[in-house]
Structures are given as structure tokens and as C-alpha cells.
């Protein structure tokens, strides 16, 4: 009796795998990776955004043969990477303002086209505040015009750079400096906020995806796919913030993974406004497992109603994006 070899047992979910064909390994596993965001930056210990940015930009660099220009919104990523006189970037990079990165990127793309340099690709990036709140008008405009820009949002679910204030990506119940854990309904309100990936899809742009720092293979695949397409593209990456979430710096990846495995952060991709693929949950976890290690959500653990509401959100995502596929479907 011979069994079908379905998996590589070691390395399938790790960054690298010496057993995989080199072209199937992640960019991060290679010694040749760009390290677009290099050492010496001033991100906090265990920063998910620093990690996510290197993952994404390195993948984009490989996808375009290092012919890349990068536009950055104001925010943690910008501040910790470029305080005079030191820059951590190793790619052509510009920061203009908090809310205009998509428009600046549109201008860069237009200039490159006008100068006959369309082989040079453009990405823009920002945090959830810069992207989903203050920069959303510019982002929508960039989408609507279908400008040749890949926009990457690093979502850490609040304004971390200014001291952890609520953003439209702050999850319900979460404590921030402007949604304190006091009063009858502590933390952030329920039934508010917005989902930029779905809004991006409503623009029917060629490519939209959500990704997580906990699943590098998936993330790199999505960036690579996005880079193979022209026009406006959007990738939304979930990046835990140990400081803002009140979590251990060593648990950044673990929390990102739990966000995916609970269903609270569904991973999917959409082409021309239609979902074409959802990454199935491998081992479903209850939301309490995700909330527990985060001080910003500690009070929710004591509130059965709030806990049930958050579980219901996760369940809805699982249903809506069909995240519990059977083996055959996967």
C-alpha cells in the first residue's frame, strides 16, 4: 500500500524549506532578498508592521526585478524608518503627507509613463489610519482611475504612532486612548468601522487581497500576483502591534495567526471585484484564544455578551468567505 505524498512535512508553513524547489521558496528565505527595509530602524520590539513592510516590499522587488518606486504615508512605518539623518530604506522611497500617498503614487506612475519609464513599478503604502481614514479619498480616486499603483495597507488597527487612538479599523470592544475601557460599554463601539478590501472590490479594480504576516507564503503569492497585473491594486495586510495591543513582542506572529484561524481576519483575493479565492482556516480557534493575550481586549473576556458578539463576527466571516473548506474543496 503506497500513500500519496501530499505535503512536505517540514517547512510547509515555515518561511523556508530546504526541501522545496528554489523557485517555490519564499523571498524571505533567500539570502538574496532585498531587505528593502533594513536594520537599524526604530520600530518597537516585535513590530508587525516593520516585518510586514519588508515582506511585502521585498516580494514586490523580486516581482519587478528591483525596478520599484515606493510611496509612503505618514505613520509609524515612515517615522521609524526615516528619522534624519538615517534611512532604513534601500529602495527609491518618498514620504509626502499622511493622507496623500495614493495620489502621490498616481503622480509618480503618471510621471514614469510620461517619461517612458513604465517598466518601473510603483507601490504606495501606509497604516490603517493613513489608508482607511485620512487617505481614503485619495485611495478611492486612485482606484477609480485605475492608476497603475499597488497600494499596501499595513493594518494594526489604531493610530499607533500618535499613541494608540481609535481608527476605523479598531475592532469592537478594543481599548484605545480615545476609546477607553470605562463606562457601561468599555472600549470601542460595536457595529462601526469599515472594510477597505470590500470597498476596494466595489471599485472593481483588477486585484484586491487580504494577507497576514502570519502566512508569508500566502502574502508573497498575493504581492507577486498583484505585481503581475497593471492598474490599481490593493493588498491589506494584518500586522499586530505589541505596544498598541498590549501583547508580548514575541507573540506578534502568533496573534496574527490566531486572527486568521479564528476567522476574525479572513484571507481572500478578488479579481475585478469578485472573490476568486479564500485561504481556508487550517485549525479553527475560538475568538477568546485570540483576545486573551491582548490587554486592549482583556475586559471583553469578562463580558459574555461582547465575547459572543465578536465570536459571531468571526462566524459570519467564516460563512461569508467559506473559510472552512473541506479537503476536497481546498
Amino acid at each position: 500500500m503506497t500513500q500519496r505524498v501530499r505535503f512536505y512535512q517540514t517547512g510547509t508553513f515555515t518561511i523556508g524549506n530546504r526541501l522545496l524547489d528554489p523557485e517555490k521558496r519564499t523571498v524571505q528565505a533567500t539570502q538574496e532578498r532585498s531587505n528593502s527595509l533594513t536594520s537599524g530602524h526604530r520600530a518597537c520590539q516585535g513590530c508587525g508592521e516593520a516585518l510586514g513592510a519588508r515582506y511585502a516590499v521585498d516580494a514586490a522587488m523580486r516581482a519587478c526585478g528591483d525596478n520599484l518606486v515606493c510611496v509612503n504615508a505618514t505613520g509609524c512605518l515612515e517615522v521609524f524608518s526615516t528619522p534624519y539623518p538615517e534611512s532604513s530604506w534601500q529602495v527609491p522611497w518618498i514620504h509626502s503627507l499622511f493622507g496623500n500617498a495614493p495620489a502621490v503614487a498616481s503622480g509618480v506612475a503618471a510621471a514614469l509613463r510620461a517619461r517612458g519609464k513604465s517598466a518601473t513599478r510603483v507601490i504606495a503604502q501606509g497604516g490603517d489610519g493613513g489608508t482607511v481614514d485620512i487617505g481614503f479619498g485619495c485611495l478611492s480616486g486612485m482606484f477609480e482611475r485605475n492608476d497603475d499603483v499597488l497600494y499596501i495597507c499595513y493594518d494594526n488597527e489604531a493610530y499607533m504612532n500618535t499613541g494608540v487612538q481609535r481608527s476605523s479599523r479598531t475592532p469592537p470592544g478594543a481599548r484605545t486612548a480615545t476609546t477607553q475601557a470605562v463606562g457601561e460599554h468599555p472600549g470601542n463601539s460595536f457595529n462601526q468601522g469599515k472594510n477597505p478590501a470590500l470597498i476596494a472590490m466595489a471599485h472593481e479594480i483588477p486585484y484586491v487581497a487580504t494577507a497576514s504576516v502570519a502566512d508569508l507564503h500566502d502574502l508573497e503569492d498575493k504581492i507577486t500576483r498583484a505585481m503581475s497585473i497593471s492598474g490599481a491594486r490593493y493588498v491589506h495586510i494584518h500586522v499586530p502591534c505589541p505596544l498598541g495591543w498590549g501583547a508580548q513582542p514575541c507573540e506578534t506572529i502568533k496573534l496574527a495567526r490566531l486572527a486568521v484561524e479564528t476567522g476574525l481576519f479572513p484571507l481572500y483575493e478578488a479579481v475585478d471585484g469578485e472573490i476568486v479565492k479564500a485561504t481556508p482556516i487550517r485549525s479553527q480557534r475560538p475568538v477568546a484564544e485570540y483576545l486573551g493575550p491582548q490587554r486592549r481586549l482583556a475586559h471583553v473576556m469578562k463580558d459574555e455578551e461582547a465575547l459572543a458578539a465578536i465570536q459571531a463576527m468571526a462566524d459570519r466571516n467564516i460563512r461569508r468567505f467559506n473559510l472552512l473548506k473541506t479537503d476536497a474543496e481546498a
Binding site: G107, R113, R115
Partner: protein, 417 residues
């Protein structure tokens, strides 16, 4: 080539002759005709690979040209009024980062109350943003200034705002000499950026600068403005040599010989002022005028020199620093500091209020007798003001001022009840 043409369309043609590579704009009255024509020129292929990006706001428009300039393209935008305020953050950003963007401002009042007509409140609000600010007196000058502006911006790596009065210039048809492409090409070399986003030579643009270097960065921006004081006259001379026309002077005196009274102003109102000067000279008055062509950098020395012989100065300006008075007048006083010359301020034409020769004549007469309020609000309806002030005194919650005034004046009273 001489054309009977609307000011906006003439400016559009001039901008096109400068061969911009990226144009991005958001429509706002009275800037619309400029960008409409440019969009048509681009669409027709008249500008080769030039990209015209229709954006969703002025903030995006200027941001887009910031990106384009950073990526090595000659970039242009135009706006006015609220639009300029909406892009304010990017205005400072463009100059702080030294991008040689050229932007036309079709000068217009700022609300509330919303008003689409001409005054200088908009460009004045951005006067200290680090942009060079040139003011056109005529449409011919507006056309010429745009050519000079690109050259100046790129030579100094600093953005330049060309201000032209909304409607008075933008929508006025008159004879304008439109340059040939060869002439412009000879004057304006292709854009060679000092810094650029380039994968072959990556740099980090837009660093965060702390207290240890911020003062120096600001000083260097100021220094660029001071450099412009030297560069602008050179470019104006070169322009005269190339095009045979004098345009763009930072300071242009008119009949100031032996003038005891000199009137100072920006923009198109200088035409009216010159007529009044002519009339008053004909009547024997020792009066002249000085047009300021560059509000930033402010040519302190040249103005002081131009006004050296005057025993009084009258500044006519289309703006108001609320709670202070005249903005231009304050600047002129700085040019004259240490001298006993009185500087009178006439606030005129706010929100498009006509500035008739007669009113100016009367005001200048008063000033020459040193019998003038300072500041003088030209043609202000004191009856309306007095009634409204009285009513406000009576009743604390007296309703919106603008509406009340209109009701008082019987203009919309029957509609508003």
C-alpha cells in the same frame, strides 16, 4: 502670434508650450477654463506623452504633481480659493521638499460666505508657505509669467505660484501674443531634476527632521527665496531679450518721477490705478504708482528704492488680515522701516466688489491731504454696517450676518422672508 483670446485659454496655451509632462487638477471656478483647455490639448496628443490626471480633490491634485515632480516630470496644476486651502498641507509639503511645480491660482475670495469672485485672500493665505508668488497684471503678463515660472522653479528647485485675478483676467478676452514653441524651447530647457525617485540611484525623500536640523532646513528654504531675488531679474532680462517684451518685473514703477504720492498694488488693479494716476497727473497732482510683481520673495530693497522719493505711500490691496488690516501694506512698511513715510492702506475689491476709478481718485485725493482713514475700506456701505451693528447690539442672536445684510439691502429679502 497675436490672438484675441480668453485669459484662461491663453494661459493654457502658454503652459502647453512649456511642455509639462504631468498635469493634475480638480475643477474650481475660476480656474476651470485653464485646465479644460489643457485636458483637451493633452487628449489631442498636443503634448505627446503628457499625462492629464483628473483627481478627486485639490489635495490630490497637488499631491499627484508632487509625486510626478519627485519622479522627474515637469508638473503643473491650477486652482483657486477653497481649492488652494484644501491643498494647503500639500502646498507646504511641495515647497518643503523643493519640488519645482508651477501652479496657477485664479485669485478668488475665500468663504464663508461662499463667493466665487476675485480678491487675493487665497494666495495671501499661502504667502508664507515657501512658494514663489508671482502676480500678473495683464493676460499677456500671465502668459509670460508661466514661461518664466517653469524656468525659475526648476533653476532653484522651488515651486512657483502664478497668481492672476479671477474673472478679471481669467475670463477676459483680449489681445495676447502667444509665443511660438521654438521661442519657448529656446528659453526653457528640458527639466533636469536635482533629485529624483530612480531605481538606479535610490534615495529616501521626505525624512522626518527633528529640532537638530529643522531650523537649518527652514533657513535654506528662506535662502532660496533670497536667491530668487537675484535670479528673477536675470530671467526677466533674458525673457526680454528672447521675446522682446518686458514681463515679470518684481517691481514696476509708473510715473514715479517726482511723485510725492505713490500707490502700490498687486495684479490687475494696477491698470485702473494707472488710469487714475494719469487723470490725476493731468490735473497736476504729483502721483505715481508701483506694481509689485513678486509678492514672495518680497523685494524689500527694490520697493524701498522705488518709494524712496515719495512723501506718502498708498497701498491698494484686495485682501484683509482680519484684526490687523492690510497685508501688502504691512510688507511695504517693512520695506520702508526707519523712514518717516506714512503708508496708507486701502482695502478694496473684496469678493469681487468693483474698484471704480472715481472711488480710487477720491481716496487718493483724501490721502494726499492726509485725510484718510487707515485702513480705508473702499466703497464700504456704512449704512448697512451701522444698521447691522445696531441690530446685533440689540439682540444677541441676530442670525447670519450675510443674510441679514442681503435682507437689509432688499436683494433677496422677498425670497428669504
Amino acid at each position: 502670434m497675436l490672438k484675441q483670446i480668453e485669459g484662461s485659454r491663453a494661459v493654457a496655451e502658454a503652459v502647453a508650450l512649456a511642455r509639462p509632462q504631468v498635469i493634475s487638477a480638480y475643477p474650481i471656478t475660476p480656474q476651470t477654463h485653464i485646465v479644460e483647455d489643457l485636458s483637451a490639448i493633452v487628449k489631442r496628443g498636443g503634448l505627446g506623452a503628457c499625462e492629464f490626471v483628473n483627481v478627486e480633490s485639490e489635495f490630490a491634485a497637488l499631491s499627484c504633481v508632487i509625486g510626478a515632480s519627485a519622479a522627474g516630470a515637469r508638473a503643473y496644476t491650477a486652482t483657486a480659493s477653497q481649492g488652494l486651502l484644501f491643498m494647503a498641507e500639500a502646498v507646504y509639503n511641495a515647497s518643503g521638499m523643493g519640488f519645482p511645480i508651477v501652479m496657477t491660482v485664479g485669485n478668488r475670495a475665500i468663504g464663508a460666505p461662499i463667493n466665487i469672485w476675485n480678491d487675493h485672500s487665497d494666495s495671501m493665505s499661502m504667502a508664507d508657505s515657501g512658494w514663489i508668488q508671482l502676480h500678473a497684471e495683464t493676460n499677456q503678463e500671465a502668459v509670460d509669467l508661466h514661461i518664466i515660472a517653469f524656468r525659475l522653479a526648476e533653476q532653484l528647485s522651488v515651486p512657483v505660484m502664478v497668481c492672476m485675478d479671477g474673472f478679471i483676467l481669467t475670463h477676459a478676452y483680449e489681445r495676447v501674443d502667444i509665443h511660438t514653441q521654438a521661442q519657448v524651447d529656446a528659453y526653457l530647457p528640458p527639466f533636469e531634476p536635482v533629485q529624483m525617485l530612480d531605481p538606479d540611484e535610490p534615495v529616501t525623500m521626505g525624512a522626518m527632521v527633528g529640532p537638530e536640523a529643522f531650523m537649518e532646513v527652514r533657513y535654506l528654504s528662506h535662502h532660496k527665496q533670497l536667491q530668487a531675488l537675484e535670479v528673477i531679474p536675470q530671467l526677466v532680462d533674458e525673457f526680454r531679450a528672447q521675446f522682446g517684451r518686458s514681463s515679470g518685473a518684481m517691481v514696476a514703477p509708473y510715473r514715479t518721477d517726482n511723485a510725492q504720492t505713490v500707490v502700490v498694488a498687486l495684479g490687475s488693479v494696477n491698470g485702473t490705478i494707472k488710469d487714475v494716476v494719469d487723470d490725476m497727473r493731468a490735473q497736476g497732482a504729483c502721483i505715481g504708482s508701483v506694481k509689485i510683481g513678486a509678492f514672495r520673495p518680497f523685494p524689500l530693497a527694490q520697493i524701498r528704492e522705488a518709494l524712496a522719493g515719495a512723501s506718502r505711500v498708498i497701498v491698494v490691496e484686495k485682501d484683509l488680515a482680519l484684526g490687523l488690516g492690510g497685508i501688502v501694506a504691512s510688507n511695504v512698511r517693512m520695506a520702508l522701516r526707519g523712514l518717516p513715510t506714512p503708508v496708507y492702506t486701502i482695502i478694496a475689491g473684496l469678493g469681487g466688489r468693483p474698484i471704480p476709478k472715481a472711488s480710487l481718485h477720491k481716496a487718493f485725493d483724501g490721502a494726499m491731504r492726509d485725510e484718510i482713514e487707515d485702513p480705508l475700506f473702499l466703497d464700504l456701505d456704512h449704512k448697512v454696517i451701522d444698521r447691522e451693528l445696531a441690530r446685533m447690539k440689540e439682540k444677541r442672536r441676530s442670525g447670519p450676518i450675510a443674510e441679514n445684510i442681503l435682507r437689509e439691502m432688499g436683494l433677496v429679502g422677498h425670497k428669504l422672508g
